[in-house]
Amino acid sequence: MIRSILSLLLLLTCAGCSTVNTVEPADPVMQPDYVTVKQEITDSGLDDIVSVQKVVRSTVSGDLLKIQVELKNKTDSYHRFNYRFSWFDKDGMVVTQGASPWRTSQVEGQETVYISAVSPSPNAQDFRLELLDSLASSSKKGTSTNPRARTLNK
């Protein structure tokens, strides 16, 4: 009887769970140019769910910086989040007047997603990625005056 109840509870707990299985080469050929990053966590709740795994950089179109960030959902549940990149020149100035638009993304349980962006100008030398929990999931009206942001600086 107790076993049945426990099984039922387990089933109910995992009703919204859907995780991802992956396969990849054991000896990968790729040689990524990893970026060492520092993180400023202001939303540990989001960090407990969506965590930064690796950051890779490359150059495209001759002189434009491209950044790719690997994010993993550490939970077994689907989650939505927002993100945006900002770009800086060698003097620390933002290379465009306005920041890049916030973009939305989502991850299934235990899924790894890759978000990337290309710098808007050859002058861009550094980047910053901001991650923000979906307002739709944290605030019904999306009117929170204290957005729980997390930044990742190179």
Partner: protein, 194 residues
């Protein structure tokens, strides 16, 4: 005379009431960042953030491809051709193409000619008319289509907006870059924040 004074007093009182009303109407209108996540999400129309997201993905794809470096002249000269709107709504496709043009211009990889007429007058008819020189021939042409796909399950509506773009290399007539961005929204009614 008394009547005139009463009219003036009444006018001032009315104006005062209107002025006070403007101080606190109980309304909730406010500015939000049009690039931020506090905008409205509609199920049945392309929101401002959808245009930005589609343009941003297209820009990243285009710059990552490196095809703009194929032009012998740098920055490459590009013309915007036809973007077909195959959705149920009237939309201004400049909301997509202008962001792409601005980004390519800032990147130093491409500039857009505004003096070539495609289906109507040139974007800048004055420059096209008074320029002594023949307009520079573009090396690339940007064209595309926006498609809408709908589905419904009970009260839940789903709409997918498919943004398709092609960059044709004019000397060869070949589409040297193509991409498709899909934005899918699901729900029963509009919401604030995403």
């Amino acid at each position: 005379m008394i009547m005139k004074n009463s009219t003036i007093t009444l006018s001032f009182l009315t104006a005062g009431l209107f002025a006070l009303g403007g101080c606190n109407t109980g309304g909730d209108a406010r500015y939000v960042d049009s690039q931020g996540p506090r905008t409205i999400v509609s199920v049945d129309e392309i929101n401002i953030q959808d245009w930005s997201s589609a343009a941003d993905q297209m820009i990243n794809s285009l710059l990552s491809s490196g095809i703009l470096n194929r032009s012998p002249e740098q920055p490459a000269i590009m013309a915007v051709s036809v973007i077909v709107n195959d959705t149920r709504r009237h939309v201004d496709t400049d909301l997509l193409t202008k962001q792409i043009r601005v980004a390519l211009n800032r990147s130093g990889k491409a500039i857009t000619t505004t003096t070539i007429d495609v289906l109507g007058p040139a974007e800048d008819p004055l420059a096209a008319k008074v320029s002594d020189k023949r307009p520079p021939k573009p090396y690339f042409s940007l064209s595309g289509k926006i498609i809408e796909v709908n589905a419904q399950a009970g009260d839940t509506k789903q709409v997918t907006y498919v943004f398709q773009l092609s960059m044709t290399e004019i000397p060869t007539g070949l589409a040297v870059w193509e991409d498709q961005v899909e934005i899918t929204k699901q729900g029963s009614r509009a919401a604030i924040g995403w």
